[in-house]
Symmetry: C2
Subunit: 187 residues, 2 copies
Amino acid sequence: MALEHAILVSLLEKPGSGYELARRFDRSIGYFWTATHQQIYRVLKRMEGDGWVAAREVPQQGKPDKKHYAVAPAGHAVLDAWLHEPIEPESVRHDLAVKIRGAAFGDPSALMRQVERYRQVHSERLAHYLAGELRDFTGPDAPAEPDGMGELQHVVLRGGIAYERMTLAWLDDVLATLHRIHARTGH
Amino acid sequence: MALEHAILVSLLEKPGSGYELARRFDRSIGYFWTATHQQIYRVLKRMEGDGWVAAREVPQQGKPDKKHYAVAPAGHAVLDAWLHEPIEPESVRHDLAVKIRGAAFGDPSALMRQVERYRQVHSERLAHYLAGELRDFTGPDAPAEPDGMGELQHVVLRGGIAYERMTLAWLDDVLATLHRIHARTGH
DNA sequence: GGGCACATGTAAATTGTTACATGATTGT
DNA sequence: ACAATCATGTAACAATTTACATGTGCCC
């Protein structure tokens, strides 16, 4: 019960169509909340029915019409109420941790190859975050709007950066451990 | 499609009943893979039907009978095949990040209180992990079994510890940011 | 007697994933 | 011509969550 909230936040930051939202869930918001376009369209329709968002049909040349969504007062109220609720412990599904513990009963070297690939992905993600930080949050155009939107986006991004750095260090630890076990059992 | 694998790993580490598995998913395994007893019973039944695990009815005095599950050869093969598959990028649902970005459009001080509570939870979780590490992975009973089960459990635990430490530092950053915004807009 | 731990389930509702479907424009 | 991007959806299925359901033994 929170895709609704992610959509509300994204639309408050910048109104747009379902398609545009789906694009954002591939990037910025998507780094901490995944959703497919099918989900987004379905939920958006319900939110429109409940009066949380209002749609405006925008005819376009050369492209299909799009429905431009903006948050309605009722949606704003829902978001505000949600901010007062306790933060739920996130439900974790950490594939890799399961695999690592499973490696004791299988082939550790097979896992090592996968971990190396995975490390690469996180390394690229860190570079991507750092580039985004440089682009959006440094230099003379320091936001400092009264509402703090830019500062809050920045602190979330710093969280992503910290997460990736921690992950990379841990993956090195994992690789060293797998290597040690492999060396002992491998011959 | 991986609760099956988490159950296989847990049963390989130590066979047991559905109930016992459900307990473990509240603690050790549960820190990186959540599942309720309803899910576990359902999946376990399917896995038994597919010959991945074998059940043995254990009559007990004073307690209802329980079905003691152990991994069958077919299940072992499934796990092994899974270890060779690429590691899927975990699908993130990070409630807090959404809330933080939402705070720009609501009441930052309301969020501050929730973040402080949340920080407390993670602080306790870190203490819990560190206690577990001290209990299970230090001292003279250093595991060093040939299969590396203990070492792999340890490296996963170290990941949890690193995650909690990173999270606590980030939450301090978040609180400082919220405080700064509140001071500017609050009067 | 009340509450907790053990032990296993069913049913309903909600969410999330995967596959299919359509149709226009822009670039190669 | 063909692929990619824009733009919106339906349908079927799988997974997850929440609520309900039952029964024993132990401890206070």
